[in-house]
């Protein structure tokens, strides 16, 4: 019975782990997408690129 409880706990932890991994993959895709967009914005609008960079600059 104890083994039963232990293996149930292990399964729950694994499920949580795989949910986390799935969410991480989503994050990675979104981050790649974002980086591409930033560089496209800066290429297309070198003039306006001051504004995305400006967002970052206003932080300083």
């Amino acid at each position: 019975f104890l083994e039963d409880v232990k293996s149930q706990a292990r399964e729950q932890l694994q499920a949580s782990e795989s949910r986390y991994q799935a969410q991480r993959r989503v994050t990675q895709v979104l981050q790649t997408e974002l980086l591409q967009l930033y560089s496209r914005l800066e290429m297309e609008n070198p003039a306006a690129s001051s504004s995305p960079a400006g967002g970052a600059e206003s932080l300083t």
């Binding site: 994050t27 974002l34 967002g55 932080l59």
Partner: protein, 283 residues
């Protein structure tokens, strides 16, 4: 002889804490009681705080696993903020912690609306800066700030507005003349409570003194803050009695001298033990 006795007591305390720390699972309640009663030995302080704040679970054999989770969570949040350009190389470390905290709490401003930290963030930043001085590892530091702030707000958020009243009460018992003076020049309501209570004296005291106050806060008392304030007033009594303008009093207390903060904290803890932890009716 006094120091010998104190030293001996210190060794005994350290031994009994070591015994508590060998328990598996750890008895969090006993650790709280220990931390309420004695100052934590500096070599165990961070570890005990992490357990009391729930950063590490009671079962010691889970510590490695959980610490790994904590580290990953830290990295995930930090990386995302960097990719989104919320942070850059020159962002001060406490502001990094603030943005991470805001992201996790779903309170992160939009990047297009991002400004320098607001006034409402000042308490977080003060606590963060002090914790930075206390803790070297950034992962530990972020988690300690986050859980300290969260626990403090959850447990004591409702009590904070009542602390000035409590201060008045204990000051009336300790020094009625000083209280009368502060009242008569209408300084009592203007004391720098906001620099004291919501940030647990971060920024008012050097970290070496702050640690012993935070031991009590982490282990579940916010009343200690009242006694620290009482002792601040008592130790500058002569100076305060000589001032009649409330602005001068506030100005002085907001930029307190840093010399004898250790003595203030020691007396505050003694006073707190007298009134609160030792049963004497008053609570």
């Amino acid at each position: 002889a006094y120091y010998e006795k104190m030293g001996f007591r210190g060794v005994e305390e350290k031994k009994s804490l070591e015994i508590l720390l060998k328990d598996n699972p750890l008895d969090v309640e006993k650790l709280c009681t220990f931390s309420q009663r004695f100052p934590l030995p500096s070599m165990y302080r961070i570890h005990v705080w992490k357990v009391l704040l729930g950063i590490l679970p009671p079962h010691s054999d889970s510590h490695a696993l959980v610490a790994g989770y904590r580290r990953e969570q830290y990295t995930d949040v930090l990386e995302a903020l960097q990719v989104m350009r919320f942070l850059h190389g020159a962002t001060p470390q406490v502001e990094v912690y603030l943005r991470m905290f805001q992201l996790e709490a779903q309170e992160l401003p939009r990047r297009s609306e991002l400004t320098a930290p607001e006034e409402e963030d000042e308490d977080f930043l003060a606590i963060g800066k002090a914790m930075e001085e206390i803790v070297d590892d950034p992962v530990d530091c972020y988690w300690l700030i986050k859980c300290f702030v969260n626990q403090f707000n959850n447990k004591f958020g409702d009590s904070i507005p009542h602390l000035p009243k409590s201060l008045e009460h204990y000051l009336s018992l300790e020094d009625i003349r000083l209280l009368a003076h502060l009242k008569s020049c209408s300084a009592l309501r203007k004391l720098p409570y906001n620099l004291w209570f919501p940030r647990c004296f971060a920024g008012c005291f050097p970290e070496s003194s702050l640690l012993r106050v935070w031991d009590k806060v982490v282990s579940g008392s916010c009343k200690i803050l009242v006694f620290v304030a009482v002792e601040i007033l008592l130790s500058y009594k002569i100076m305060l009695m000589g001032m009649s303008k409330p602005e001068a009093i506030v100005q002085f207390l907001s930029n307190m001298p840093q010399e004898n903060t250790d003595a203030i904290v020691t007396k505050a803890i003694d006073l707190w033990h007298n009134y609160v932890t030792q049963p004497r009716g008053a609570s």
